[in-house]
Structure formats: structure tokens, C-alpha cells
Amino acid sequence: MQWWCAAQNAAWSWTWRAYPGVWLFMLVIAVAWVLRLRAAGTRPDRFREPRRWAFVPGWLLMWIVLDWPVGALGAGYLASVHMVQFLVLALIAPPLLLLGWPHRSAPAGEAARSSGVRFFTHPLTTLGVFTAVTIATHLPVTTDRLMPSQLGAFTIDTVWLGAGLLFWYPVLIPLHAWFGPPLRIACLFALMVLMTAPGAMITFSDLPIYATYELAPPIPGVTPLEDQRIAGIGMRLGGSMTCWIAISILFLRWARDEERLLRRELAPPG
């Protein structure tokens, strides 16, 4: 029995398979969230805050892409499904998990007092780390070396999640006073631009670049090159769409806050 989805040299089968490592991983995250919620506040309505429940779809999406069948298909059969895993683990689930995670409320800048925290949550660092992880984990040599082993596949999945959480943290949590909505929006734009390189490399390659998917037992209806192109286009479209949704939300909130501020300033005294 496998504990984590990895590339197998066996024909694809729709027979269900258990991945206990995935269940344990998901259980640990769920328990940590519940404990954190209980510890975070004393108000009885803390579970009723709508924002807290963003954690649930994030957690469910993670489970879907890590477990059978999506996890198994992505690990060893289809590069396009592997890309869906990347998009969910690095770009879609992390902001939902962060929104639902109860953070200690601290005035902007206070939490980032220590130089270590300041450095690791600096948007340039998080953007750099996310880009480096995205590129490094999509290099053929990395994918072909890591995906056939369970530990390697686990490493890729957790590195994606970690890089996603790191990137979204300063975008969603007010740690740095100077990092306001305009800079956050700029950060998301920069991410879209930086993701172009790996997306283009995958989309426009003339040949299958990943031995893992080229030599995998075939899935009828799609050639390795078509599958790879779908993956590349998915990376560009999925990444851009996620960023645009986040940009829209940030912009609307920013506009709403500015409007409130303006109204307050224009309101007659007394």
C-alpha cells in the first residue's frame, strides 16, 4: 500500500486506492485549525464568523487534489492534472486557509518586529521564494526525479503548499504597514508576469519534457504532448484567473475603505 500518491509503473485503473498518509496529513491540518479556533477567542460565536469558514473549502480542495483519483492521476499519469494540483496547493487553497485561520489581531507592523519575521514575510522574499519554487518544481529534472517516489511526491506537494502560504501571508494579513492595497495588487501582477516563464516553457515545448508523463502508461484520448500543452495553458490561465480574482477583491475593498475614509473626513464635525 502506498501512503502518498507517487508515479507508478502500472496501468491506470479506476479501482479505488487508499492513501493513509494523505488522510493523516489532512487530519492534522483540520485538528490544528479547530484547536486554534478554540484557543483564539472566548466569544461563543467565533465559529459563526463567515471568514473562518473559508478554511473549509480550502481544506476540501486540498484533500481532493492530494487523494485518489486526482492525486494518483497527477502524480504519475497526466501533467495537466499535476498542474491542477499545483494551482490548488500553491495558489487557491493557501489564501482560503489563511483567511480561515484565526490570527492574533495586532496593529500593522507590530507583528513584524523581529528581523527574521520581517525578512521572511517581506513581499520581495515571499514573491522570490514562490517564483523559485514554481520554476524549480516544474523543471523536468525535478519532476522526473521526485515524482516516482512517495517521499519525493510528498516533498513537492508540501513545498507547493508552503510556498503558497508564504506568498499569500503578507498579501492577506496586515503585517507591514507600508504594504498597502496598491502594493499588494502590484505584487499579484508581478506574480502573474513571473509565472509566464515556466508556463511558456511547458506550453511551447515541441516535445514532451517530462519523462514521468511521456513514459507513463497511457490514458486514452490524449497524447503526452497534448497533455503537456493543456498543463502549460492551465498554468497560465489558472494562475492569472486566481490572481485577477484576488486583485479584484483587494481593489474593491480598498475602494470601499477609501470611500468610508473620505465620507468620515467630509462629515460635518459633531
Partner: protein
């Protein structure tokens, strides 16, 4: 007829395993080359001040390095994965295997005389079966997709011949439909398994191994390499499972030229 001394070492010698997936030695060589190339990255020493700025610099350098390696295809499809030292990516057969004759039935029901029908042409011979879940469809589909990249005049000089090692289930119609899904103009042959195994032995390949009890769903053990008979009527190279499209793209023009020397 006594089979010739096998340059393939029993038919499976060219295969090794990388992370549980059978790969040719040439792929292992590519992985090793990529690992050597990527090597440990050493950054300049760090002083006591401006540590954060220098770390940002290191991260930026790492990103640049990764970008460079990624875009130049280091270790990927662009990496030469030759196991041989003569520029070919196949496994050399020493001595080369002569294009000896055999006769089987093609998918139209006609007798196919191998040596006569393929003489002077680059012929890629593979023994497999259409219910094969992994090796056969990957080999045939890769060949079909690569051949599509060559102009018609080059394609017409290459012949792909597939011999079934599972004549029980591989009917002529099934072989035809399966090959047509893999590539254009592939030749499919079948005959009694004993005869197919005799032919394989002649080429130094192991016999097909059927399970003792054959119901409707079973797998057949068979040789995993494609033999490339060049226009000089000898097979100088074998292409084991793990041969990638990039390897075929690299070697096919060279194989065509090999016989023209």
C-alpha cells in the same frame, strides 16, 4: 537453426530501473549528467551586517540560476541522453544483428516476407501485444508521434513493423485498429506463438511469456526493445523502454544515414 550470440544479453540487458520505473541506461546517464551539472551551489560569504539584503541577493541568484537551467532545458528533453559514445542514443548491438528473413501474416491476411519487404529500408521491429498496458503503447505512440514530425519523403523511408506476441487475442482487425491509433502506415504481423518465439530467438530476444492460466485478462511478458534495422540490412542499435521522443528525433536521421554510408 541455432540463434546467434545475443548482443542484447538475453534481451533485457539494456534496461535498468530509476525510482521503480524501468529506464534505459541512457536515461540514467542523463540523470547523472544533470545531477553533476546542477551540483552544490555555493554563494559568497556573509558578513555580519545587511544579512537580509544579501539573502535577498542569494535568492535572486538562485532564481536566475533556476531560470537559466529551466529555459535551456538542462536535464530535460534537450539533454543528450546517449548511452553510446558514437552519437546515437540507442544501445549498440555488437555484433550487429543481420536482417534475417521470416514470414508471418499481415493484418490484410497476406504473407509478409520480412527481409524481402523491408530490404534497404530503415525498419523498426517490435514484438508486443495490443492489450499491453504500458510498454507497447508508449513505444508505438512515441514512434508514431515522432514520425509525424518528418517530411513525407523521410517517413516513406522508415517502416515500423509490429509483431504480436499474443496471437490468441490479437486478431488482425484488432491489431490494425490499435496500430492505426498509434501512427500512420505501421505494419502489423501475427502468427503462431511458437513461430514468433523462434523469430525472437533468432534476433537474440527472449521468448514471450504467457501466464499458465489465460482467461480474458492477462499480461504477456515480452522483450521491451525496438530493433532498428538500418538500410545496410543490419540492426546496429536497440531502443529499450524509456527511449523518449527526443531520442527518436535525434537518432532516426542518423539511422537513415547509417545505411547510406
Amino acid at each position: 537453426m541455432t540463434p546467434p550470440a545475443s548482443p542484447l544479453g538475453g534481451g533485457q540487458g539494456a534496461q535498468s530501473t530509476v525510482h521503480g520505473r524501468p529506464c534505459p541506461d541512457l536515461a540514467t546517464a542523463a540523470y547523472r549528467a544533470a545531477r553533476r551539472q546542477s551540483g552544490p551551489v555555493r554563494w559568497p560569504g556573509h558578513g555580519p551586517s545587511s544579512a537580509g539584503r544579501r539573502t535577498v541577493g542569494s535568492v535572486a541568484r538562485l532564481v536566475a540560476l533556476i531560470l537559466f537551467h529551466g529555459l535551456t532545458g538542462c536535464g530535460g528533453a534537450g539533454e543528450p541522453s546517449a548511452g553510446s559514445t558514437d552519437g546515437f542514443r540507442g544501445v549498440p548491438l555488437v555484433p550487429p544483428i543481420p536482417r534475417s528473413d521470416f514470414t508471418l501474416t499481415d493484418t490484410e491476411g497476406r504473407a509478409f516476407h520480412f527481409a524481402e519487404e523491408t530490404a534497404g529500408r530503415l525498419t523498426l521491429l517490435f514484438f508486443g501485444y495490443t492489450n499491453c498496458p504500458d510498454i507497447c503503447p508508449v513505444h508505438m505512440a512515441n514512434l508514431g508521434q515522432v514520425l509525424e514530425r518528418f517530411p513525407q519523403d523521410v517517413r516513406s523511408r522508415v517502416r515500423v513493423v509490429f509483431v504480436s506476441t499474443d496471437p490468441e487475442r490479437d486478431t488482425p482487425a484488432r491489431i490494425r485498429a490499435w496500430l492505426d491509433a498509434m501512427g500512420r502506415g505501421f505494419t502489423g504481423l501475427r502468427g503462431p506463438l511458437e513461430e514468433v518465439n523462434r523469430i525472437q530467438a533468432r534476433f537474440g530476444l527472449p521468448p514471450a511469456a504467457l501466464p499458465a492460466e489465460t482467461g480474458t485478462a492477462y499480461t504477456v511478458g515480452h522483450a521491451a526493445q525496438v530493433l532498428a534495422f538500418t538500410p545496410d540490412d543490419s540492426a546496429h542499435y536497440a531502443y529499450p523502454f524509456g527511449t523518449r521522443q527526443v531520442d527518436w528525433l535525434h537518432d532516426l536521421p542518423r539511422l537513415l544515414a547509417l545505411g547510406a554510408r
